[in-house]
């Protein structure tokens, strides 16, 4: 069966081989001499038994080199991410690049009023549906967070809403402790058709994060452990903020973020050897004027490339960031930053590029930006595909056939090769002034119209009714459990 094709990335290198090795040595040093605070007793015991140096009182774990390196070897080089529809499956490996939105932004640009407001569950469902229709979006999260569901079980409501509205691979954004994670896995099993079916065809992966610098929160580790037990793909990617929660230097912040990520991999591989692990971080920067995190800076782009080179060195699949902006609305800055960081993300070759469609430094989601990014990714894909150079494409006989001053428009060669050699843009305006003036629409307006059209016309294969009922029962039970837990 044909799979979703990955964009061929990895052409841009910033670090020399020696520099990559120096960064690796620094990562090992941080893990060996400084360690990570892990706020989870069972995991401390596990790592103690595995040979790590554990201070149970301080909850600090120091990792000998061999544990880190062995664990890197235990992680698979190839990770299969599946959709509810097998045609949406894709293989994460090498320098194949895939794209998708993230979740968790508190705000969302309303699709009707275009006003900024708190995100809702229905927004996430709409984002999933639109992502399903966009040809260059490979994996799906809901772009915002649901302010209108009980927050205690948000970790179930959100992925379920997304899975119900897309046939593509879904990532669960972690808001969960161990019990909720187990419930989420049960839900995914019901949708996949069973435990074995889900292992064979993981239709969902977990996006989970430590807290920089070097703290692994208890509930996040619980989720990581449960997910690893199930053998499903896990992304353990911190958000080190240069100058705030990580060194201001680019190399230093990559060292720390990578140490955090690789320590997570040690946990995964000791819980369940062979757990599909996605390495990386979201290498952010603190804006020193406004005291806010920024997503659109060149430093983040440089660090993207550094991370990709490290992941290449480790032969681990990697997490990437792109298609996002610090701009508050979909304006010139938004598109400029999104184009630039998508381009660099592609050239870096990080495998799973998330955050597509984020505005306001990941505090807002814009479907219109997501749609524009889809088109930009199509262009990047075309560029990275390269050109074919052979007798047929060199076309010397065609040049002669057309003759001096002749036209190529009517030639069979044109008819034959046009669609494979040229990308037709749906959103970019290439019309004449007169025609454009009559319609007078901007790129953002055209993107918005496309969003509305998809929502009206696009249909998603629904999850069977009996499965839905069972899932909703699980969510209700977990809601009750969370309420009792809170009361106690």
């Amino acid at each position: 069966m044909e799979l979703r094709p990955g964009l061929k990335g990895g052409q841009l290198k910033i670090l020399s081989k020696d520099q990559v090795y120096d960064i690796h040595l620094a990562i090992l040093k941080v893990l060996r001499e400084h360690g990570v605070e892990i706020q989870h007793e069972a995991t401390l015991k596990l790592l103690d038994a595995a040979g790590a140096d554990v201070d149970f009182k301080k909850q600090v774990v120091k990792f000998p080199e061999y544990l880190v390196e062995e664990s890197i070897k235990k992680a698979p080089k190839t990770v299969r991410c599946c959709g509810r529809d097998p045609k949406e499956d894709f293989i994460v490996e090498g320098r194949k690049v895939y794209f998708g939105p993230c979740a968790g932004a508190t705000h969302f640009i309303d699709l009707e009023t275009e006003e900024r407001r708190f995100g809702r569950l229905s927004d996430m469902a709409n984002v999933a549906k639109i992502s399903n229709a966009l040809p260059n979006i490979d994996f799906v999260m809901g772009l915002t967070t649901a302010s209108d569901v009980p927050q205690s079980v948000i970790g179930l409501y959100e992925p379920y809403a997304v899975m119900s509205n897309t046939c593509k691979h879904v990532q669960a954004f972690c808001f969960s402790d161990g019990e909720l994670t187990k419930a989420m896995i049960r839900i995914a099993e019901l949708i996949a058709g069973g435990t074995d079916e889900l292992r064979k065809r993981p239709i969902i992966s977990l996006y989970d994060e430590p807290s920089s610098p070097l703290i692994f929160g208890g509930e996040y580790v619980e989720a990581l452990v449960e997910w690893s037990k199930a053998g499903l793909p896990v992304i353990w990617a911190p958000c080190p903020i240069s100058g705030a929660t990580a060194p201001v230097t680019l190399a230093g912040s990559i060292v720390q973020g990578s140490a955090e990520s690789l320590a997570g991999n040690v946990i995964c591989q000791f819980v369940n050897p062979g757990t599909p692990f996605i390495f990386g971080s979201v290498p952010l920067v603190l804006d020193m004027r406004h005291a806010l995190v920024s997503y659109g800076t060149v430093e983040t782009m440089i660090k993207e490339v550094m991370l990709a080179q490290l992941s290449e060195y480790y032969q681990l699949p990697s997490w990437g960031t792109g298609g996002c902006t610090d701009s508050k609305i979909l304006d010139e800055q938004a598109v400029a930053e999104a184009v630039m960081n998508l381009t660099i993300a592609s050239l870096s070759g990080n495998n799973l590029v998330h955050d597509v469609g984020f505005i306001e430094s990941a505090k807002g989601g814009s479907v219109d930006l997501l749609i524009i990014c889809d088109e930009i990714i199509a262009m990047l894909r075309r560029i990275m595909t390269g050109v074919s150079v052979d007798d047929e494409t060199l076309a010397t006989d065609v040049i002669m056939e057309a003759g001096h001053g002749g036209s190529f428009l009517g030639l069979k060669h044109t008819l034959k090769h046009f669609s494979s050699e040229h990308l037709i843009s749906e959103l970019m305006d290439r019309s004449a002034w007169i025609k454009w003036k009559k319609e007078g629409k901007t790129l953002a307006q055209r993107a918005h119209e496309k969003a509305r059209k998809i929502l009206e016309e696009h249909e998603i294969e629904p999850i069977p009714k009996d499965v839905k009922e069972e899932i909703e029962k699980i969510i209700r039970e977990e809601e009750k459990r969370a309420a009792t837990k809170k009361a106690a």
Binding site: T145, Q151, S211, I241, G243, H290, L292, K363
Partner: protein, 209 residues
Amino acid sequence: MKNAVVNFDVERAVEGAKRALEMGVDPVEAIDKGLTKGLRIIGEKFEKGELFLMHIVAAAETARRAIDEVLQPEILKRKTERKVLGKVVIGTVAGDIHDIGKNLVAVMLFIAGFEVFDLGRDVPVDEFIEKAKEVNANIVATSTLLSTTLLVQQEIVEALKEAGIRDKVKVMVGGAPVTQEWAERIGADGYGADAMEAVGVAKRLLGVE
């Protein structure tokens, strides 16, 4: 001491504070005419865009060390009081360990002339209340990054009511998922979208602008 703050020179600030005391300068005066002046210069340069956040943090740390290590103990001994714009108890709420935003607000408030009691992160509701009572706080400021711990900010407002001190303190809320709308909904008095705005809000709430 003013120059020590402007040059982020902790050693010189601490030495300067000691020398001032030896010379018979009142510690409150030393803060006012020395350290605070330095902080004001840094603050102005930051507002003009000539200096950046890390300069603010470094200057605040310089002043804080001179106060904590030398001047504050002397103030306590003499039973006088520092002239401050107000007392702020601040912390990241229970269930949340993200504190970088809270730390920045604490620094900016300090620079502006508030006395700041930073409780750290993952702070239980009761701790906010106890500290507010203990120091006679004018403001309780709570921060959260997670949307799931937003509700704790509301619990703190309720707990202040139960403790009978809600009318004595102003409540400020902040953090990535927090909005003006949320602040109003839970009955908080003020919300700042970033650390600089938080200072303006604090001043406005206490009428010390």
